[in-house]
Amino acid sequence: MSGEDLRYRPPVPVLWWTRKLSYFVFVMRELSSLFIAWLVLYLLLFVRAVADGEAAYDDFLDWATSPWLVVLNVVAFGFLLLHTITWFSLTPQAMVLDVRGRRVPPVAIIGAQYVALGVVSAFVYWLVTR
């Protein structure tokens, strides 16, 4: 067997994901990837400004108050929260944990991740402000 694949594939409309809320949330969750990439880039620019000295650091904080950038960052943060919440909720499905032969309930795995998020956030906040 060689050559072209002749099986029929019905065309899928580009906006198939607007027909149902769960499809829409799925595509929005996938789209969070773009905003994660943007936030990484933004943080790299921030690090460069810090490295360039105090004046550059102050300029950067000023620049970051431009309305378009605030809107972009608020939207990006919203998508990031969507990523975090959906990621934590999916973990028990991707990872089954057994302790002494008993399955750890999904709610415990989800809860543990929120605790870890809290610890990491508190540590970062302490590190940058102490």
């Binding site: 990837s33 773009l34 690090v47 810090v50 490295a51 904080l61 990031l80 970062v124 590190l127």
Partner: protein, 115 residues
């Protein structure tokens, strides 16, 4: 056995997804919103420069950022492919992973300049 790169991409996708879920929210909240908008007093420059210049900060941020970029590239590849029905498999892959590779070099350069 044939060597396949796909499992490693999925591994980086998962690692980057965990990083983005765990450490990105606090960084984005502080540096993109709270400090510029004055909700919290920004830390003084000398302290921040010392934190950013530490080799451990470099290692943690570089590792986390590169994994997040691969995560984003991998996921966006499927957003284009399945979500928006862009079926140019090679072009989409090249653009997504190429973008992540450029981002990784940028991360090396910018984080390196601060160390």
């Amino acid at each position: 056995m044939k060597f396949r790169v796909e499992p490693f991409l999925w591994l980086a996708f998962s690692g980057g997804g965990v990083m983005a879920a765990m450490i990105l929210p606090v960084l984005a909240f502080l540096f993109a919103l709270a400090y510029p908008l004055g909700w919290l007093d920004p830390p003084d420059h000398a302290h921040l420069a010392a934190v950013v210049g530490h080799p451990i900060t470099f290692l943690v941020l570089f590792g986390a950022f590169v994994m997040m970029l691969i995560h984003a590239a991998h996921r966006f590849r499927f957003t284009l492919y399945d979500g928006l029905q862009v079926k140019h498999r090679f072009l989409v892959g090249a653009a997504c992973y190429g973008g992540a590779a450029i981002g990784a070099l940028l991360a090396l350069h910018m984080l390196g300049s601060a160390t």
